[in-house]
């Protein structure tokens, strides 16, 4: 295992907040009784991803269902153990810390890395009032804080996320809140721990289109105020652009477990370098009607291939309109293009033998 990196055990100030180094997450598919003695199918959810997250940073992950963005997000905040590679928090390997091999306690890391789920309805206990849901984490982490102090803290946070009067909202049950309000409670719960990173996993996708900007603005205000970094997962490029641009961060495009393009939102959207980013851009509805009528999708197939058996070479070659023979054989690596912009496509290299290769015929 390459994970044990003893030299890093203590970390120093120059270490990024979170460093993801060549991470791979593979799941074994459950087998039925008859398949007991067969090799289990392995789902390659995340493969060979390296990315850093700094203080007060935003990384927006985009991609279609099943591309591994949620798995990568959960790996970043230490909820999912990678099968290969390492994740470190301020220079300490998270999973080594859990095993007790560094100077930090795992509980500290755990409370510094928080999550907001997609469905606010099912992430709140329906039988508990909001105030009880929010008291629990404080009671667990700060057993000496009095009930009165807890209440004050909860009310001020609820007010901070725009739920006034706080006393009224705190005494409600989740079913008495709208979807947007539930999501605010989830955000307040994450903020209770003064986290360094919040993973917002499709946190606004279940909200009405008209409420999304409001919720994103709230998260961005809090990013500044609490100095929190966000990993923002979305399948919608325009939401990712809004969030990453305002949060002064980057967009990362994922396809079948690989990070295929990372860059500042304006560069990535105005000048996409990976054909898959182009596809996502095409898929994003546009109110400028001429642009939205732009005919056929820039891809050859609608359905994403099975991650149990991903295509050889560049994983996008089965759908890519630009694919050539070499794309079937070789997997392109992420290549720096300047300004913090990286893409994994042979086409970014004008000297690559891709240009002499034959186009793929379906």
């Amino acid at each position: 295992m390459s994970r044990a990196r003893g030299a890093d055990a203590d970390g120093d100030a120059s270490d990024p907040l979170i460093a993801v180094d060549d991470v791979e997450v593979h799941f074994e598919k459950e087998q039925g009784l008859f398949g007991l003695f067969d090799e289990p199918d392995v789902v390659q959810a995340v493969d060979g991803v390296s990315v850093d997250i700094g203080e007060n940073d935003v990384l927006a992950l985009v991609g279609e269902s099943g591309c591994g963005k949620t798995t990568l997000g959960k790996t970043i905040i230490g909820l999912q153990e990678p099968t290969e590679g390492s994740i470190s928090y301020r220079g300490r390997d998270i999973w080594e810390t859990k095993a007790g091999n560094t100077d930090l306690s795992f509980d500290d890391i755990r409370s510094s890395l928080q999550i907001i789920h997609q469905d606010p309805g099912s992430s709140l206990n329906p039988n508990r009032r909001i105030v009880e849901t929010l008291s629990e984490p404080i009671r667990l982490t700060h057993p000496n804080v009095s009930a009165g102090e807890r209440r004050t803290r909860i009310y001020s946070l609820l007010e901070r996320v725009g739920m006034t009067p706080a006393e009224d909202f705190a005494s409600r049950y989740p079913h008495q809140l709208s979807g947007g309000e539930k999501q605010r409670v989830a955000l307040a719960r994450a903020l209770l721990m003064n986290p360094d990173v919040i993973l917002a996993d499709e946190a606004i996708s279940a909200l009405d289109v008209s409420l999304r900007v409001e919720m994103m603005d709230l998260m961005l205000d809090l990013q500044e105020e609490f100095n929190t970094s966000f990993v923002f997962i979305s399948h919608d490029l325009s939401n990712a652009r809004y969030f990453a641009a305002h949060g002064d961060g980057r967009i990362g495009v994922m396809y079948l477990g690989n990070l295929v393009e990372v860059g500042p939102p304006d560069r990535l959207i105005s000048d996409p370098q990976h054909p898959y980013t182009e596809v996502l851009r095409w898929a994003t509805p546009n109110l400028a009607l001429d642009a939205s009528e732009a005919a056929d999708p820039p891809m050859r197939k609608i359905d994403i291939p099975d991650p149990v058996n991903p295509p050889s070479g560049c994983r996008f070659h089965t759908r890519c309109p630009e694919a050539r023979a070499v794309c079937k054989q070789e997997q392109p690596a992420l290549r720096a293009l300047g300004d913090d912009h990286r893409a994994a496509c042979f086409r970014t290299d004008s000297d690559h033998r891709y240009w002499e290769s034959d186009p793929i015929e379906d």
Binding site: Y242, L280, P285
Partner: protein
């Protein structure tokens, strides 16, 4: 059998050959205390794609159910729903017997709901759903299945694989496409879709929308597409209607409704949408909340959130007024909406910003 009010109405909304007409439809619960659809009147042109847009809880799903007289009990539907199988025939949907209604749903007007996973029976293969539907409507199963295969291939699905799979063996996008194929099985005249793509990622949503356009051409079907996602349906619809607080507030041809919308709510909704090309600083949420179905304000229900609201708005409910041919709006101050609320995207932003910059 055209009455005066009919003609007036037709002149307003630009529909000359309606396939479905809804007149003064209201849905009430609690013995009339709670309105979840409030006096809605509109028509659907034969062979068009109508996009109906509204936020959660604006009554748009009730509108869809009303078209099929399928309001969940104990809701009560009043008003008229008229169906014209051809331009000279009129049938009243609300007068149907149970047997007639059964035939009307699926064979004349069929519906696709949000969340294919809950529409399919998880213990039955997808193919069995097609067979059951054919049998329930006394159609020939082999012929029907042949047709099903054709639609499935049109939707870029492998018919053998899909028909022989259990629902959970298909991806969300495949399930949703299989459900659309099932809804087209009896060759309906009208397909009503309520958030048909909501649980899917954007790429699949856009792909399905493209396929729907092809399906509409090939099978001559009229489509009603109901969603909260305005930019999504804007890429597909011929005409659009906007709902707010259980009422229709604006309807018109797609381009006019997007680029020249006249209701302050429509304009605010357009500006609140994250758009890939719009300047970031111009995207704004709509302040305030939509009203609950009880105690709907006496006048215009948007008045509390509207920057143009005056005493008139709070006192009297605005009637529909024609903006131009086919484009109608229910607002007392629609003439001032364009200059008061500038649109922040595309060409409209440029035009609105230059020409109407000076405030009154």
């Amino acid at each position: 059998m055209t009455t005066t009010s009919d003609r007036l109405h037709r002149a307003g909304d630009g529909v000359s050959d309606p396939i479905l007409e809804v007149k003064n439809a209201s849905v009430t619960y609690d013995d009339g205390d709670t309105y979840v659809l409030d006096d809605v009147t509109f028509s659907i042109e034969r062979n068009e794609i109508l996009g109906v847009v509204g936020e959660s809880g604006s009554g748009k799903s009730m509108l869809a159910s009303a078209l099929l007289d399928a309001i969940p009990a104990p809701g009560h539907l009043s008003g008229e729903v008229l169906y014209h199988p051809d331009p000279d025939t009129t049938v009243d949907v609300l007068e149907f017997s149970d047997a007639e209604l059964n035939e009307f749903r699926w064979a004349e007007v069929s519906m696709v709901f949000q969340g294919a996973m809950s529409s399919f029976n998880p213990t039955m293969k997808v193919g069995a759903h097609f067979e059951d539907t054919l049998k329930a409507h006394d159609r020939s199963v082999p012929e029907g299945l042949e047709f099903a295969r054709e639609i499935l291939s049109d939707l870029y699905l492998d018919p053998d694989r899909v028909l022989d799979s259990y629902p959970h063996e298909l991806s969300g996008g495949m399930q949703q496409r299989a459900l659309i194929a099932l809804s087209l099985l009896l060759e309906p005249e009208v397909l009503v879709m309520d958030e048909p793509t909501a649980a899917l990622d954007l790429l699949m949503q856009r792909s399905i929308l493209l396929l729907l356009e092809d399906i509409k051409e090939k099978y001559d079907v009229t489509m009603v597409f109901i969603t909260h996602d305005l930019p999504l349906v804007a890429s597909l619809a011929d005409r659009m209607a906007v709902m707010y607080a259980f009422e229709l507030v604006e309807a018109g041809p797609r381009d006019q409704l997007i680029n020249d919308s006249s209701h302050p709510y429509t304009r605010a909704l357009l500006n609140s949408t994250p758009n890939i090309d719009a300047p970031l600083e111009d995207m704004r949420p709509i302040p305030g909340k939509s009203p609950a179905p009880v105690n709907v304000p006496a006048g215009c229900s948007y008045a509390d959130r509207c920057p143009l609201a005056t005493e008139t708005c709070r006192e009297s409910d605005p009637a529909f007024e024609p903006v131009e041919a086919g484009h109608t709006v229910a607002c007392h101050h629609w003439e001032r909406a364009a200059e008061a609320i500038e649109l922040t995207f595309g060409e409209a932003a440029a035009v609105g910003g230059d020409a109407e910059g000076d405030p009154q």
